[in-house]
């Protein structure tokens, strides 16, 4: 395999890992606070639609992003209402959120655009453009020289290829996602909020008796989760692709959940897991079947691999994944 091909796959890995990473960090905040969230998928989907829809209607991708975040927050609020205020089953609530998003997006899309559950294609200001770093090869060079980017890329040296493909040329949300990793680590382990957040996921009674509101903390965590899922969904519809199509998240919320378990609820590991799962997706996209010296690996293996790996991790054969202790349990005051 050519080096440039490798770099292109890695580039695509970063693009595909971004929504996973955002959703994974979203889940991390929620689950670290003791609220299980299998509704990441639904929140992403909802945001994907509303960001694309508003971007299409207003022509502004930033308004689209805001709308996406707001819609995701609304679902997060519903999840919070069910699992915090009414102490319902968090898993069932997550299932409901996923279905609600799957149904509402198509319903509203049909009502607004009459295009069979999709939004019009986005272009220009309706999409996030890729940021081009100085000296990186990009579409501008291609326009200037009149030759395709791939040709220009092939002619230059390896470092320049890496710089141009991997570091430059992504939408701003990609940088936001990767920046969110150290920020999350810092918030979680270096701030008062982080200490309380981790405590409320381990032993809410300790937080409560220390005079801090369990409900407030958990809602805050769920809200952060909503915002991050919102960005993830907006990225899908307005950066990775140009518009919303029905069920466009295609299980990414669950892969993110898998990555979260894989990472054992730790930010840096979450990045590693998301990159790994992004790589699997990138490889599956690029090759149909992979021929490894006579043994053909069908593409479906690539599709299934994130889930299989997660099950292996969950099984505890390679390091046990222990979730936050109070996770999934509604907090009921007792002496």
């Amino acid at each position: 395999m050519e080096f440039l091909t490798v770099i292109q796959i890695l580039d695509s890995t970063i693009r595909l890992a971004t929504p996973l990473l955002l959703a994974c960090l979203a889940g991390l905040y929620s689950e670290r606070a003791g609220i299980f969230d299998i509704g990441l998928e639904g929140k992403m989907l909802m945001s994907a639609f509303f960001s694309a829809a508003v971007a299409a209607l207003t022509g502004s991708v930033w308004l689209g992003l805001l709308a996406g975040i707001a819609s995701s927050l609304a679902l997060a609020g519903l999840h919070g209402l069910a699992s915090i205020t009414f102490r319902g089953n968090q898993l069932i609530s997550g299932v409901a959120v996923n279905f609600l998003a799957a149904g509402m997006t198509v319903l509203v899309a049909q009502d607004w655009f009459q295009q069979g559950g999709r939004t019009p294609s986005l272009f220009g200001q309706g999409r996030f453009e890729s940021a081009e770093f100085p000296l990186a090869i990009g579409p501008k060079d291609s326009e200037a020289t009149g030759r395709p980017v791939s040709e220009l890329m092939a002619e230059t040296n390896i470092l320049h290829q890496v710089y141009s493909e991997l570091f430059s040329g992504h939408s701003i949300l990609v940088y936001v996602a990767f920046l969110a990793v150290p920020v999350t680590w810092w918030v979680l382990f270096r701030t008062r909020f982080g200490l309380r957040l981790r405590a409320v996921g381990e032993n809410p009674a300790a937080v409560d008796t220390a005079g801090v509101s369990v409900v407030g903390l958990r809602y805050a965590a769920v809200a952060i989760c909503g915002v991050l899922c919102g960005i993830a969904g907006a990225y899908l519809a307005t950066a990775l692709q140009a518009g919303f199509v029905k069920d466009m998240t295609a299980g990414r919320g669950f892969i993110a959940l898998a990555a979260l378990i894989f990472a054992k609820w730790r930010p840096w590991h979450a990045m590693g897991a998301c990159l790994l799962f992004g790589l699997l997706q990138a490889v599956a996209l690029r090759f149909q079947n992979i021929d490894l010296g006579g043994v053909v690996i069908p593409v479906q293996v690539m599709d299934a691999l994130p889930y299989v790996l997660t099950v292996v991790i969950l099984a505890g054969f390679v390091g046990k994944a222990i979730p936050p202790r109070a996770g999934g349990e509604p907090y009921v005051k007792e002496r």
Partner: protein, 382 residues
């Protein structure tokens, strides 16, 4: 302590939840500029106004009875089996193999064999998450979700690379031979003088589904295994005390659950499509969750809820056909039902309990009822 009578818990709460879901759905329909009342009328006439409509309603209901029972059995052991979808996919594979590779002389034997195969495959697909939960403590909700995706990839592989007939582009198996085609309700009812639509897919599997309801009821409430499943579901430490093995119950309950989900394939794969296609399950595994929640995990409740969802699915299809309301409206209703009967249960329950409590207090004041036992010592204080 019981805060309200049992009938309120079993009937009133699901009913109120349903009304709430229906009300919100009506608002959604209004919001997209359609008339909810006309929509309901259309749904009723489309799903229940003809034997054709009934045939579809009952066909969908059959699927949902199986998946609903699957989720319900797991619920009794306090296990949340989200993997009904994957288990039903594998059940389809089992049915396809049984029907394609063995020449059956008659549909009756074929049905028995296909049912056995579908249950076996469904149970096998539930077995690994069950084992991991029982032995390694891996959260069954997550593993069964993962197994849904793995099942989809596996089925995709089998249909594209292995079972697809040569020359076909369609990722599906061949049609099953004529001998294994199941009789539809039309075929079953004609001899006794009832004319039922020929075109509708409802078939003999519906009878099997009703049978399954009775079997599950007897299993849960009349057998020692059912006693153990319920005991374990209520209290794991209690089960340990009584010598009920948590490992065994977890695995057995999940195997039964997986088998029931798998059994759905005799309806959609053998009875309707008569071949195995990629998206044969159409989300029925997930609808099982709504059905089990709404039916309060009781087979009779599951039956009623399944009929209701069958009606919604057929009615929704009619809506999509005649109005601008897409089929996804049903997904929204389904989400609302899960939300109200499952996650927001307390929102409905708490005000009701307060009402019953104040009613109860009034009655006690006039001395009509026996004094309540003093249950407070151990539960509410010290």
């Amino acid at each position: 302590m019981d805060k309200m009578p049992k009938w309120a818990d079993v009937v009133l709460i699901p009913l109120i939840s349903l009304i709430l879901a229906a009300f919100l759905s009506a608002l959604v329909i209004l919001a997209i500029g359609e008339d909810p009342i006309a929509a309901v009328k259309l749904m009723v006439s489309g799903a229940l106004g003809s034997t054709y409509g009934w045939g579809y309603t009952l066909y969908y209901a059959t699927n949902f009875i199986f998946t609903g029972l699957a989720v319900a059995v797991a619920f009794h052991a306090r296990l949340f089996n989200i993997g009904g979808e994957g288990q039903a996919m594998l059940g389809g594979l089992g049915v396809a193999m049984a029907c394609l590779y063995i020449p059956w002389p008659h549909w009756t034997i074929a049905l028995l064999a296909a049912a056995a195969a579908s249950m076996l495959f469904g149970a096998a697909w539930a077995a690994i998450p069950a084992y991991l939960q029982a032995k390694r403590g891996s959260h069954i909700v997550i593993t069964t979700i993962m197994f849904n995706f793995i099942a989809a990839a596996f089925l995709n592989y089998m249909l594209v690379n292995v079972m697809r007939p040569e020359g076909s582009m369609d990722p599906a198996t061949e049609r099953f031979p004529e001998a294994v085609h199941l009789p539809t309700l039309h075929d079953l009812l004609a001899p006794i003088g009832i004319s039922f639509s020929k075109a509708a897919p409802a078939n003999v599997s519906f009878v099997v589904a009703i049978l399954a309801c009775f079997v599950v009821w007897a299993l849960i409430w009349r057998t020692r295994l059912g006693y153990e499943i319920r005991a374990y579901g209520h209290s794991e430490t209690g089960a340990l005390y009584a010598g009920i093995s948590p490992v065994r119950i977890t695995i057995v309950a999940m195997l039964i659950s997986g088998a029931l989900a798998g059994l759905m394939a005799i309806n959609n794969v053998m009875g309707e499509a008569e071949r195995l296609v990629l998206n044969a399950t159409e989300g029925a595994g997930f609808i099982g969750i709504a059905v089990a929640l709404m039916g309060r995990s009781h087979p009779f409740g599951v039956f009623l809820a399944a009929i209701l969802f069958g009606f919604l699915y057929q009615g929704g299809a009619e809506l999509a056909l005649w109005t601008s309301i897409p089929r996804e409206l049903i997904v929204v209703i389904q989400a609302l039902v899960i939300l109200f009967t499952g996650a927001l249960d307390n929102m409905v329950r708490m005000p009701l309990e307060r009402i019953f409590l104040s009613l109860g207090r009034k009655r006690r004041n006039v001395g009509e009822t026996a004094p309540l036992p003093d249950a407070s010592h151990s539960t509410t204080q010290d």
